[in-house]
């Protein structure tokens, strides 16, 4: 195998796939990237057996062929190369010679045959979604995915295809984020699947603002095809809990908040929320919210925000990090906070189908 390419193209290609390579792996081949030179492209593939990514970059291929090389090492070498032209030549023993300007590197690889193939998709159900929409949906939900391994069904994002709608749901038991995406698909495509966190993170990285992404759901696995890149992942087995149970049906008070102003206030006040209780308190009075935090033996913080609020006076406490996460992810100028009372969950909404349920903390009065 022999090809030459520009450093930028090669680097870009490697960046797309290298995140999947896990640092701690038991199979040496999994820390390698599969390179396949064909036509005027070199395909790159990485996998950790759960998630796999396949991308490509433009190159002038002199001799077609394939090999696998240590992904991290290759990436660091290419990044440091002095010249913008890179040529790579691999001999029969999978040793790659990399030449660029005055530099010469030789790194040892493993044969192509040892690399586990990406799963085949037969009888898969296909749906096409605009990339921007999906990217937006992931950003608004993925931060709420649980990291608690004992609740493994929550260690992923629910993709629920139903009634011509794709609903994305993430929850960790204390909060829940949900987005609805309008989508046309046949009834037979209706399904609930759980995509593991790693695949969601990688997908978020790969999605851009233009074009579409083709989603194929097979048995126990899912594939996303976009911009000449393919991401495949195993699905989390099991049933996602009935998340609708969590969403309050009727709320009593609604406040409209300026997202950025409110986020900045929260961030400032949370500097004095203690690590232990880690809560901030919102005190609602007529047309005003006081945001307060205090840590015994450290100090306290308070900030007042004028808002349009006409309900009764009351206080409610939240985990500041859980409150700020959705505010950071949203882009809208205004958000609506719906509340019932100090012990019931708060609901954050925007003008598009998005919903964030957040449990209050108990106020010790």
């Amino acid at each position: 195998m022999k090809f030459s390419a520009t450093k930028e193209k090669l680097l870009e290609g490697l960046q797309q796939v290298q995140n999947v390579v896990s640092t701690r792996t038991t199979l040496p081949i999994l820390s390698n990237v599969l390179l396949q030179a064909k036509g005027n492209e070199v395909h790159l593939t990485t996998t950790d057996l759960d998630v796999g990514v396949r991308g490509a970059f433009e190159a002038s291929v002199e001799k077609e062929g394939a090999t696998t090389l240590p992904a991290r090492r290759l990436f660091t070498i290419i990044r440091e190369l002095p010249s913008s032209e890179v040529s790579v030549e691999v001999d029969g023993k999978n040793a790659a010679s990399i030449r660029s300007g005055q530099s010469f590197f030789k790194i040892l690889g493993l044969p192509e045959e040892e690399f586990p193939p990406l799963p085949k998709f037969e009888n898969a159900k296909n749906v096409t979604i605009p990339q921007k929409t999906l990217r937006d949906g992931l950003r608004k939900t993925s931060y709420a995915i649980s990291t608690d391994e004992t609740r493994y069904v929550l260690n992923g994002l629910l993709f629920s295809f139903k009634d011509n709608k794709l609903t994305l749901v993430a929850t960790d038991g204390r909060r829940l984020a949900m987005v609805d995406i309008e989508l046309e698909f046949p009834r037979s495509h209706e399904a609930d699947i759980i995509v593991p966190t790693k695949a969601v993170t990688e997908l978020g990285r790969l999605l851009t603002d233009d074009g579409e992404v083709k989603v194929s759901v097979g048995s126990g696995q899912i594939a996303f095809e976009l911009n000449n890149t393919l991401l495949v992942s195993k699905l989390i087995e099991g049933n996602y809990p009935n998340y609708k149970q969590v969403i309050p049906t009727e709320t009593k008070e609604r406040v409209t908040l300026e997202r950025e102003t409110f986020l900045n206030s929260l961030r400032r006040v949370s500097l004095l929320a203690s690590d232990k209780s880690n809560s901030i308190k919102l005190n609602f009075t007529k047309n005003n919210i006081d945001i307060t935090a205090n840590t015994p033996e450290v100090g306290e913080a308070k900030e007042s925000l004028p808002v349009a609020y006409k309900g009764r006076d009351f206080s409610i406490a939240f985990n500041p990090e859980f409150f700020m996460a959705p505010l950071r992810a949203l882009t809208e100028d205004e958000v609506f906070l719906d509340l019932i009372d100090e012990m019931s969950p708060g609901v954050l909404k925007i003008s598009t189908p998005f919903l964030y349920v957040l449990m209050p903390m108990r106020i010790s009065s």
Binding site: E237, Y240, P241, N242, D341
Partner: protein, 455 residues
């Protein structure tokens, strides 16, 4: 029974209502049912797992407060998801997974299910009787099973024969196997490890051997003391240990003695074993023995009079395995002969076991422990190479007592004292005998320790 629980639940609900908002109560607690209640644990049945997740994450404090308010003391709270037959009619959009199905599923798709691994399904946490003698070991094991590699790594369990080391280890293995799908659990004794290692050297496939062990998410090794004196196996195990530890994989080891007292074990291994938590299993006290007998009788559906339980629990003291054997023997005699069981009959039946118990054979380890305690030296000094007079003499006394009170040969005694020569032991015995004749206070001390050991 159901009625009793529903009454308890009503009492609890009343205490819970003021703790949570009406909406929360209606939404989360109205579908909850109390299905079992003991002094330690309340088990609630919930329609599906979102109830469990949400109540655990958000309403545990309120629930515990209500339990204390209603019943005076806190309990462990467990949840089970309703199985299809008994589920309360709650509109359900997603079919739920019952715990039973879970087990079956993981058994089907993974090689790591209980029986295939050599794990006895009866050795689980539920069947383990907890008493003051083993509560630390039990709590540590449970913590390890719930969050492998987060709490205590490695966990080192030690204790005498038949006190439940293997039971705890297998319970950890099964708990992880069931609750963590895809986790690779390996359970084996150190002997298997050594044999496979030798085999690997012989057939020159060490790489395969290493791969096999170093991929485990949970490695349980029973009777690790047999690694003592096997240098290359120790080295191999050392590397396996490091790989797993660095990869944040859980390691659990068991032995019949603490790591520092395993003869001919390299220091780097000893220090690693002591790195996490070392938990000791002691012989059960009489109440715990009663509890064990009752539990065992219940599972085997044996019915005996209280006196018989009492008799067995008071007379058989040292070993849980023997206790269970005696129960089996009594029960099978009762069912075969159909005779009324009295203490005399039982005494006759268990003649051999009781004799053995009465003789209460002394082990070298007990001698070492007692002597070290008496002279206020460290137990490790019994096996160490150091020999200032204040350590050497107690050690010689211990050797003498080992010679007098056990059937161990000079060589065995030497080995137990840190690999000493049989000549050293012989010299110690002669020396102690001579000094006993010469000095009254030494004779008194030794006879005191002797009688303490015999008791």
């Amino acid at each position: 029974m159901d009625e009793k629980y529903s009454q308890l639940w009503q009492k609890l609900s009343a205490a819970l209502k003021p703790q949570v908002s009406p909406d929360t109560f209606k939404r989360w607690f109205s579908a909850v049912k109390l299905v079992s209640a003991t002094d330690e644990t309340f088990t609630f049945r919930v329609p599906n797992n979102i109830y469990q997740f949400w109540i655990e994450s958000n309403h545990m404090a309120a629930l515990q407060a209500a339990i204390v308010a209603a019943f005076g003391s806190p309990r462990d709270v467990k949840f089970v998801t309703a199985s299809d037959s008994a589920s309360k009619a709650e509109p359900e959009e997603l079919p739920e997974i019952s715990p039973k199905e879970f087990v079956r599923e993981s058994a089907r798709d993974g090689k790591q299910s209980g029986p295939a691994l050599g794990l006895n399904p009866r050795n689980n946490f539920e069947s383990f009787v907890v008493g003051p003698n083993n509560e630390i070991a039990h709590a540590a094991s449970l913590a390890v099973a719930k969050t492998p590699a987060r709490t205590y790594n490695p966990l080192f369990i030690y204790g005498g024969v038949g006190l439940g080391k293997t039971h705890l280890m297998q319970a950890i293995g099964q708990y992880v196997g069931i609750n963590k799908k895809g986790a690779k659990v390996m359970y084996l004794s150190s002997e298997v490890f050594i044999n496979e290692f030798i085999d690997a050297i012989q057939h020159n496939n060490l790489v395969k051997f290493r791969k096999r062990y170093r991929q485990a998410d949970l490695l349980l090794i029973d009777d690790i003391q047999f690694l003592g004196g096997k240098e290359r196996s120790q080295e191999e195990f050392f590397h396996t240990f490091n790989t797993l530890f660095d990869g944040h994989k859980q390691i659990v080891l068991s032995s019949d003695r603490p790591p520092s007292e395993i003869a001919n074990l390299e220091h780097r291994l000893v220090s690693r074993f002591e790195w996490g938590l070392t938990a000791e299993l002691q012989p059960p006290d009489v109440e715990t023995r009663m509890a064990i007998l009752r539990k065992k009788a219940h599972t085997l559906q044996i019915k005996l009079r209280d006196e018989i339980f009492d008799f067995l629990a008071t007379r058989i003291r040292t070993n849980v395995r023997r206790l269970e054997g005696a129960l089996m023997r009594v029960a099978s005699f009762a069912s075969l002969s159909g005779k009324e069981l009295t203490n005399e009959v039982v005494e006759h039946l268990l003649k051999d076991i009781l004799q053995e118990e009465a003789r209460h054979s002394v082990t070298i380890e007990q001698i070492q422990r007692r002597v070290a305690e008496h002279f206020d030296v460290r137990l490790a000094d019994m096996t160490s190479k150091r020999r200032p007079a204040n350590i050497a003499f107690p050690r010689q006394i211990a050797m003498y007592l080992a010679r007098e009170l056990t059937k161990a040969s000079l060589n065995e005694i030497g080995d137990a004292f840190g690999g000493r020569d049989h000549g050293t032991v012989l010299h110690a015995c002669k020396l102690v005998k001579r000094r006993m004749q010469e000095q009254d206070n030494i004779r008194q001390t030794i006879s005191f320790i002797d009688s303490a050991l015999q008791r």
